[in-house]
């Protein structure tokens, strides 16, 4: 574990100092792998799963697509780093380390995080919600409001990209930008023909298995996005655009958020609190209905957003 943490520190330092942004993108990818291994060591499979899904496929691809738009080398800024800036950074860092000394030890059962609500979740989740994976039950039901916020954040990120990076109606760029062409390599096309359907099957498996093992809406959405991104990478963004037009994806993303929020409104209309799944029926059946619906909403939004971001980024930039 110490080795992994040291590797993380080394990568972070290298990322800060390297000028070639492509190398930075690759090092960030390695950082993601190291984080995932660390989460596995910390016995946190759901977090590791999400890091794997998003870091391995989507994050690297989007960073690279952004690099196509900005260029590979980092521009050296005019002013040299001043001594005051260095001192401020050091003092802040030391203050954070000092503050972290007060944190409870790793896995301490008397820590506040493990004290108040956590025992309730751990002991009562099986009876109240009835699914083995406590993380999903906390995410979906006990803390469903927070997850709604997360989904809206993902959606807002998509909104930002859609507003900033022009789509098909935008003016053509100055440097002769063109969308990413297809790859003519036979091996890649054959393997992609095999992999894309398999990944498309993996996404619903992860989605519906999220109640029993690590998984759930976010991971499944990222996997679906990954499958479509692979298709777009190998066969060309134009074919991807024809297969899943951007307009359709925008509708799906919006529907996902609306499904989630709409569930809350429905429970309000049925007389219970916002996102209180008891409105759907007695526990645990009512809870499970609510969970399934919102996980579907999360899946739709995350999958559509990932693909949308890729389409926008890859639709521009030098050929």
């Amino acid at each position: 574990m110490i080795g992994l943490l040291a590797a993380l520190a080394a990568i972070a330092v290298a990322v800060a100092f390297m000028r070639d942004l492509l190398v930075v993108a690759m090092l960030s990818s390695i950082f993601s792998f190291a984080c995932c291994a660390l989460f596995v060591l910390f016995d946190a499979p759901d977090v590791a799963f999400t890091e794997a899904c998003i870091g391995a496929g989507v994050s690297t691809v989007l960073t690279l697509a952004a690099l196509r738009l900005t260029g590979r080398q980092e521009r050296r800024s005019g002013r040299p780093a001043t001594a005051i800036a260095a001192m401020v950074a050091t003092v802040c860092g030391l203050a954070l380390v000092y503050g972290s000394l007060d944190l409870p030890r790793f896995g301490d059962p008397r820590a506040p995080a493990n004290g108040h609500v956590a025992p309730h979740y751990l002991t009562r989740s099986e009876g109240e919600i009835g699914i083995p994976n406590v993380v999903t039950s906390v995410l979906g039901s006990y803390r469903g409001y927070d997850t709604l916020g997360e989904t809206v954040v993902v959606f807002t990120a998509a909104l930002g990209v859609l507003l900033l990076i022009g789509g098909a109606q935008a003016r053509p760029g100055k440097r002769g930008e063109a969308p990413a062409r297809a790859d003519r390599d036979v091996v890649l096309r054959a393997i992609a023909t095999l992999f894309v359907p398999m990944t498309l099957f993996l996404a619903p498996y992860v989605q519906f298995h999220g109640a029993y093992s690590p998984g759930g809406g976010f991971q499944a959405g990222a996997i679906l996005g990954g499958a479509l991104i692979l298709y777009g990478l190998v066969f060309g963004v134009e074919r991807l655009n024809r297969l899943v037009p951007e307009a359709v994806l925008r509708v799906i993303a919006t529907l996902g958020v609306l499904t989630y929020g709409g569930t809350g409104l429905v429970t309000l209309a049925l007389g219970k609190g916002f996102l209180d799944y008891d409105a759907f029926g007695t526990r645990p059946v009512g809870q499970q209905i609510g969970l399934t619906v919102i996980e579907l909403g999360v899946f739709m939004t995350v999958g559509a957003v990932m693909t949308l971001l890729f389409q926008r980024f890859a639709g521009r930039g030098e050929a």
Partner: protein, 85 residues
Amino acid sequence: MFYGAAIALFACFALALIRAFAGPSVFDRVLALNMIGTKTILLIAVLGFATDRYDFIDIALVYAVLNLIGTVALLRFLTADKEAS
């Protein structure tokens, strides 16, 4: 036994990291990245066995599939870069 395998995998991880820092050409770095990806798959599977939590194998499966996407994206970017210049 599992921890021994995990240590060997982690040693591979560290050595590949050195190559990723040092590699003279960008392709060396991509090679190191690819190797780290596949070793992470094995590392997660082994750690899952070591801690008696076999759910981690799903993570290894997802990584096995998604690792391809990252490498392909990287290489498309590289060849596009060279062809443009």
